[in-house]
């Protein structure tokens, strides 16, 4: 592997600038004449806008323009859309209500934007925004999805009767599944809630719109995980500008977790306002706006039946899920509780019959979309809580019940579309049980009992689907885009190398891992390799980073481009050394003729390509190749997590004693970065399970958790040191054999933690987040 190649623990190249405060984020961007935007937002969860009076605001100091949604409509700016079509089981298309970038008739959640002020300073813009008088006619609001489906509730969109967006099903027929359940020896039934989360990236969203009237051209700096998708959507659907007249730049981005995939009203408004007001317009979210308007995650209510035969083999699974979509359909919201959730309901288990039904529902809350794991954490939590509960009901060990039902031969076709290509679930289970000293738990529990503590242990065997995705497959499932990735490898004349990628790094360390790929291929130092991303004028086209796809898809595209560069470089080297092309080996920074001492340094090969003085006959000058990679299948990372806790019975406080993660990500490029991804994912999963939760007032629709005073983020001292190991069944579907690692931690950890807590307290009736108050109440309810 070499010290900088594949498999090496190379320190992250990008960290120097991040750790020294030299990162360049959207809010750091300054252009001449730049002004600032402040949004006027709805204080009501549901209301009609009767009148907007900006006359006082327009007279405020520093104000350049106060703009509203009617003007945007007049200028032909389109509705925000959801880009994945889902059809209900009756064949009808999903019912998408209109989402205007600035509401001009109705507001549907607290924080819905209704106007924007552009002023000389942020302070003046905000002062003036407070002077915009909006005359609202308040309407009743509904925040809970199950409630929103019932009769007599407030209706959000005329397009969606009963607030129902779609009623969708997948898998085995309901009748066949019901029959299997009826014939079962045992059925475990549960109601499972998956709590709503706020994404909380460290860098809040921001946008800077710059309109150049001479060229009729727009530039948008924005906090995006996928700048090309942003350009595509803003061009094709929102009519901001044609693609060749719109450059989108996503510079350093400080975390996304999914929330920066989507196109929000603010970046559209900044671009449009830049033309309207004749000045560049910057907006940076404050933390309260982030809580109110960044797309939330999760928020499912499900019922589940898991059926077993007399040998404890799972015979059927039936799931009914209600997914809260909030007030509008965000860009990929429709895919999350369908193809990213229900398709994973087989977990690691051979289940002959699976039927899942999902209803997507509008409520007067912040829009909900993908958040780290996106559907897969919801599926894993549901399955792993249910099988753990079944083990308790059946009186068998949770490990044995899982083992008995593991899928053991591959490829394996589930009843819910997915075709698992490779895996070894037993290996991760065994590794984690050994590392956690599962066998020694009873003694530890007894010792804790003497100290008055309740000790519990829980496991979770997760599977997820990454590397999204084969374009034709997702197209057939309703995706509005292809999910390939592109790469270009440019060898400069003296041999340094630039990799242009459509992936986007916002914490994942691409500048290091992608450079390692190149260093590994040619034996050049990684410092001679630069990774370029995040600018639609520099990178040809790309689909961005989410769903743990940059390794399996983004790097596979780089490999394809490297293959082409290597092939051409070998031709040049063979010509220079008068050898046969098939005898050329490129390693350690030089091209060699195998079995001889003839070599040409790498820079010489590159220089020859550009001087073009002595190239093989007919060869074009230059050494630069591009590639598109379209995956052939999803990838299927899997693993087993074990969590051990102690509960303070008097206060209900949970202490995590140990957390063991055994993951199979296939081959790994940089183990240190992968471990960092696992650590971060587990921290977020523990956050969901123990601390985090978005709460609305059910009557008023006000967001109760709009700051860190009430929204509990995990802190370092909430977390143990994680024990992480890797098992490896290489992915057969891509050239590197890698599966993806960005979301596993957040997917696998919540059920392990809740299984451990419920084991400790002897009461299975506990929902996330398991706050001290709830655990204390559950302890008391159990006695």
């Amino acid at each position: 592997m070499g010290v900088e190649g594949i498999g090496a623990r190379v320190a992250r190249k990008e960290d120097k600038r991040f750790l020294t405060g030299k990162g360049r984020y959207t809010d750091d961007m300054v252009v001449p004449g730049m002004k600032y935007a402040a949004f006027v937002r709805s204080p009501h969860a549901h209301a009609k806008i009767k009148r907007i009076d900006a006359s006082a605001a327009e007279k405020m100091p520093g104000v350049i323009a106060v703009l509203n949604g009617q003007q945007m409509l007049d200028d032909g700016i389109g509705n925000l859309i959801c880009g994945w079509m889902i059809h209900s089981k009756d064949g009808s298309p999903m019912k998408m209500g209109a989402w205007r970038p600035l509401a001009h008739e109705t507001v549907r959640y607290v924080g819905d934007a209704v106007a924007v002020v552009v002023a000389d300073s942020v302070g003046e813009a905000r002062d003036a925004a407070e002077q915009v008088v909006v005359d609202y006619e308040e309407l009743p609001a509904v925040t809970d999805a199950a409630t929103a489906l019932t009769a007599g509730q407030p209706q959000l969109h005329p397009e969606a009767a009963g607030n129902l967006i779609y009623d969708w099903a997948i898998g085995t027929s309901e009748a066949e599944t019901d029959a299997a359940i009826a014939a079962a020896a045992h059925v475990t039934e549960m109601t499972i809630l998956n709590n709503r989360l706020a994404p909380n990236p460290m860098e809040p969203r921001a946008a800077l719109g710059v309109y150049d009237s001479a060229e009729d051209h727009y530039t948008c700096y924005t906090t995006s995980q996928n700048p090309h998708v942003a350009r595509l959507v803003m061009s094709a659907f929102y009519n901001v500008a044609p693609e060749n007249k719109l450059r989108v730049i996503a510079p350093d981005v400080g975390g996304g977790f999914g929330s920066k995939i989507f196109i929000y009203p603010e970046e559209i408004v900044c671009l449009w306002a830049s033309k309207r007001a004749g000045v560049p317009v910057k907006w940076t979210s404050d933390r309260t706006e982030a809580f109110l308007t960044d797309a939330h995650g999760r928020d499912h209510r499900s019922t589940v039946k898991m059926a077993f035969d007399k040998d404890n083999r799972i015979t059927a699974l039936k799931v009914d899920t209600i997914a809260n979509f909030g007030a509008y359909m965000s860009l990929f919201s429709s895919s999350v509780p369908t193809y990213l959730y229900a398709t994973l309901l087989s977990g690691q288990y051979a289940i002959p019959a699976i039927h899942a039904n999902v209803r997507a529902v509008y409520t007067n809350t912040t829009p909900v979309d993908a958040y780290r794991g996106a559907g897969r954490p919801e599926a894993t939590y549901l399955l792993e809580r249910t099988i753990e509960t079944a083990a308790r009901e059946l009186g068998v060990s949770p490990a044995e019940l899982r083992r008995k039902n593991f899928i053991r031969s591959f490829p394996y076709q589930t009843p819910v579309i997915m075709n698992y290509d490779a895996g070894n679930y037993e290996a991760s289970l065994e590794a984690s049980m050994k590392q956690a000293d599962w066998a020694g738990f009873p003694a530890r529990k007894a010792e804790a009992e003497k100290r008055g503590k309740k000790r519990g242990i829980g496991m979770s065997c997760y599977i997820e689907a990454c590397g999204i995705a084969p374009s034709a497959a997702v197209g057939s499932l309703g995706a509005g885009v292809g999910l390939w990735e592109s790469a270009e490898v440019r060898v400069n004349a003296v041999g340094t190398i630039e990799v242009l990628t459509g992936s986007h790094s916002h914490g994942q360390g691409h500048e290091t891992t992608f450079a390692q790929l190149v260093a590994d291929r040619f034996g050049v130092p990684i410092d001679s390799v630069s990774v370029v991303h995040g600018d639609t004028d520099k990178v040809q086209m790309g689909m961005g980073t989410y769903g743990s796809r940059s390794g399996a898809v983004g790097m596979s595209a780089i490999v394809k481009a490297l293959d082409k560069v290597e092939a051409k470089a070998k031709k040049i080297a063979a010509h220079l050394m008068e050898a046969d092309e098939s005898d050329i080996v490129i390693e350690n920074g030089e091209a060699k003729v195998a079995g001889t001492d003839k070599t040409v340094p790498w820079f010489q090969v590159a220089l020859s390509a550009y001087t073009a003085h002595n190239l093989p006959g007919g060869m074009e000058p230059g050494l630069k190749e591009g590639a598109f990679y379209d995956p052939t299948n999803f990838t299927f990372p899997a693993g087993c997590y074990i969590c051990e806790v102690e509960i303070d019975q008097e206060t209900g406080k949970t202490d995590i004693i140990q957390f063991v993660a055994a993951d199979d990500f296939g081959n790994i490029i940089n183990p240190m970065i992968v471990e960092g991804q696992v650590h971060g994912g587990i921290a977020q999963g523990i956050g969901q399970a123990l601390l985090e939760g978005v709460h609305y007032d059910a009557q008023s629709g006000q967001l109760l958790t709009a700051s860190y005073m009430d929204y509990a983020m995990p802190r370092a001292d909430d977390l143990p040191s994680f024990q992480v190991s890797h098992q490896n069944t290489p992915c057969p579907g891509n050239p590197l054999g890698i599966k993806g690692c960005g979301e596993a931690g957040a997917i696998g950890s919540p059920p392990a933690l809740i299984n451990a807590i419920t084991d400790a307290i002897g009461n299975n009736d506990l929902s996330m987040p398991a706050t001290p108050q709830k655990v204390w109440a559950a302890i008391h309810a159990a006695h």
Binding site: G123, T651, L690, L704, D710, P772, A777
Partner: protein, 265 residues
């Protein structure tokens, strides 16, 4: 944040004079509550008078069993003070639990006491220690000082210059932090002295910090955790919110009180 004028007071008298200028002038000490409130545009003082650099409001002295802490003393200074650790280690412990290192190096005793946040730590200690709140014009007993949620006996332009208390025989503080804010969801300070036992409870009471007379009576005869096992706390008097119901807080008051007594030194 709205625009505001900043003034640095050089003395207590200077501060009072500056307070009289400006449309709506407020004192600021560590600013750990006021500045975030201003940033959220929920407060808009025209002028701020900074008290942190007033020499006569700083410093810690212990003499003749009396502890005096200048109002502009930071939590970090109280947490690390050898004098306070010797005279009343429970108070150093309390200070070490406030916020995070940034907060502890900015926030001050005087600011915390004057703000009387119902979930702040210091008010419970002031009550339990029977402290005197020393202002620029009078001395106010803690029992008379804390008058309700965010309410105190201070007049509009009055400044706390120090807090004083007699070093107790024994004292202990136990806190259960709110998982989000890390303010006290319940904090109990117990102090035993020649004149008896006093118990101050913060974070839990619906009217803010309070003395727990049932516990004080129980502990007067038997200063041990077991003495509290029969004492109840009425949920009707407790705060209830997202993080803790009144019943849960009533439980926490008793648990934290037992732990405070057990930890008392």
């Amino acid at each position: 944040m709205y625009a505001t004028n900043y003034h640095r007071a050089s003395s207590v008298a200077d501060a009072v004079r500056l307070k009289g200028t400006g449309e709506e002038t407020k004192y600021v000490s560590g600013g750990m509550t006021l500045i975030p409130t201003m940033k959220q545009r929920l407060a808009a003082p025209s002028d701020l008078v900074d008290l942190r650099h007033v020499a006569e409001m700083k410093g810690i002295t212990v003499s003749g069993g009396t502890v005096r802490i200048g109002a502009a003393t930071t939590h970090a200074e109280v947490a690390s003070s050898a004098e306070i650790k010797a005279a009343c280690p429970a108070l150093s412990h309390l200070a070490s639990l406030i916020g995070d290192p940034h907060v502890r190096h900015m926030g001050t005793v005087g600011g915390s006491v004057a703000n009387n946040d119902p979930a702040a730590d210091y008010p419970s200690a002031m009550l339990a220690l029977g402290a005197m709140i020393v202002t620029d014009r009078r001395r106010i007993a803690a029992d008379d000082f804390f008058t309700g949620l965010f309410e105190t006996a201070l007049n509009e332009d009055e400044i706390i210059v120090a807090v004083e208390f007699a070093a107790p025989e024994k004292a202990g503080y136990s806190k259960f932090p709110n998982p989000a804010s890390r303010y006290a969801m319940t904090g109990v300070f117990v102090a035993k002295s020649a004149s008896g036992v006093r118990v101050g409870v913060t974070g839990a009471g619906s009217d803010g910090v309070f003395r727990h007379s049932g516990m004080e009576q129980a502990l007067a005869g038997n200063f041990s955790p077991d003495a509290l096992s029969g004492v109840t706390t009425d949920p009707a008097d407790m705060l209830s919110d997202l993080h803790g119901s009144a019943e849960y807080r009533a439980n926490l008051v008793n648990v934290m009180a037992r732990r405070a007594v057990a930890a008392a030194t």
